[in-house]
Assembly symmetry: C2
Homo-oligomer: 277 residues x 2
């Protein structure tokens, strides 16, 4: 790991690293917040934050205002990048495909399959790296925004034994039924739509009862609400097997970090309760 | 005024505008946070935030995490840009002169004098515009970071009747005695150093007792501390006439917004007390 940036904040430390990932076969960046309380004798739990389209590891750490509450609660935060990057990595001119748009899947199709293995990176390689190098426990929760909200829901639902709780802001809840998801999944996974369902939160919830608690906030002034995000599909799917989803429609809020910053403290408190259980 | 962006946040509103400024003779941008409580019947006081070198009106509003506390306290925040901008405005290739580096002075020298009238813009034109168009009172405080900390100190000290309190993070306290200030003042004000003193917080404090309370936070891991910021000069000058300066050296903190976000709530509480007096 190579340290790129370091700043003291709220008594703890903000750290940014790059490392050579064997999963995505290239350099990956991530950001970490470590509360002052974290030590090898007193490891702290970790919230993984997955960001949305066009984002890097830095958007959340700069704009969400999450470190104050995380410091108070004694929670570490890890924010990975949203895809592999670099001149040798496949890309597309559109903002919603390729670099910055990994969609947290393991791609099976050329030219994406070589590097775009974000599902395995987030589920397996990154937590192993974090737990080997920082004073954190193996208590994990996962959260995200938009494409990252989709990632958090899918990864949490498929790996309930690895996480304590799931939350999302404005998630793409049903990617197999929206333009962003259909475009990305066609490219990364190919035209056999059966292979798409493992990466769709609504499909996963329709299939069985979810054991983890889920908190979702969605602004009702979000421009992407009806065409891309479809939160009512998530509620319907969660109800099929009585999964514990709290979805809150927040009146007047949009898709931005001004929305996320307003409610991030409540998400951190929700995860804290589950992480400490 | 032209509305460029609007988002609901912490129950209030983030707004970004451009307007045609008669003072700087061109378009200027500013950002505003209005707490939910603000109304024509119940106008709220305003904190003006002046940003540092290279910044626009957006850095503070995105990175400081200030809106949560401002909403709670019922304070509006106005963050102007740091200089005039545009193809027809004089500029320099360096980051510390020209666009993004107005230094909150009224330039007297070519080619800067035509547009770089930031002192008058901040003191006169902007508050008039804000108070005519938003549900705010004429209770004002002023704060800033680095170059903007210099601006806040100088503007507050020279216009005590217009403000209730002054605060700064990592301010350039003594620009006539540091490289950033000497370069900028030479360009904007010319070689007669007598004209520089009206824009130097240490000179102003050495000249007379300051009637406004001042809070300054300075990280001791700030790379610019010794060569550019010189907080001990400010303490010495404030002591000459018994001016009320609280300067806090914060161990381990650097020059970044990770530092500002850590202590911004305390600055807002300090201003709130003075604004409500």
């Amino acid at each position: 790991m190579k340290l790129l940036n370091e700043s003291k904040t709220f008594g703890g430390r903000y750290l940014q690293y790059s490392h050579q990932s064997s999963t995505v076969k290239g350099d990956m960046r991530f950001s970490v917040f470590l509360p002052e309380a974290a030590s090898d004798k007193k490891p702290v739990p970790v919230l993984y934050w997955l960001s949305g389209l066009t984002c890097t590891d830095e958007n959340f750490v700069q704009k969400a205002g999450a470190f104050r509450k995380a410091a108070e609660l004694g929670i570490a935060i890890v924010a990975p990048d949203t895809s592999p990057r670099g001149d040798s990595v496949a890309n597309d001119d559109a903002y919603d495909l390729g670099q910055g748009a990994g969609f947290y899947v393991n791609a099976t199709q050329a030219p994406w399959a070589e590097h775009f293995q974000m599902y395995d990176y987030i589920v397996k390689e990154l937590p192993k790296l974090i737990e080997a190098n920082f004073p954190v426990s193996d208590r994990r929760s996962i959260a995200g925004h938009s494409m990252g909200g989709h990632g958090a829901l899918v990864i949490g639902l498929r790996n309930a034994e690895r996480y304590c709780s799931i939350s999302a802001f404005s998630p793409i809840t049903n990617p197999i039924n929206c333009p962003w998801g259909q475009k990305a999944f066609s490219a990364y996974l190919g035209e056999d739509k059966q292979t798409w369902k493992q990466y769709d939160a609504c499909e996963l919830l329709s299939d069985k009862h979810a054991v983890l608690p889920m908190l979702v906030d969605q602004g009702d002034a979000d421009n992407f609400l009806k065409e891309q995000l479809k939160p009512t599909n998530l509620v319907r799917a969660a109800n099929e097997h009585g999964s514990a989803l709290e979805l809150r429609m927040q009146p007047g809020y949009d898709h931005s970090y001004y929305f996320i910053s307003t409610f991030i403290d409540q998400h951190l408190a929700f995860h804290h309760k589950c992480l400490m259980d």
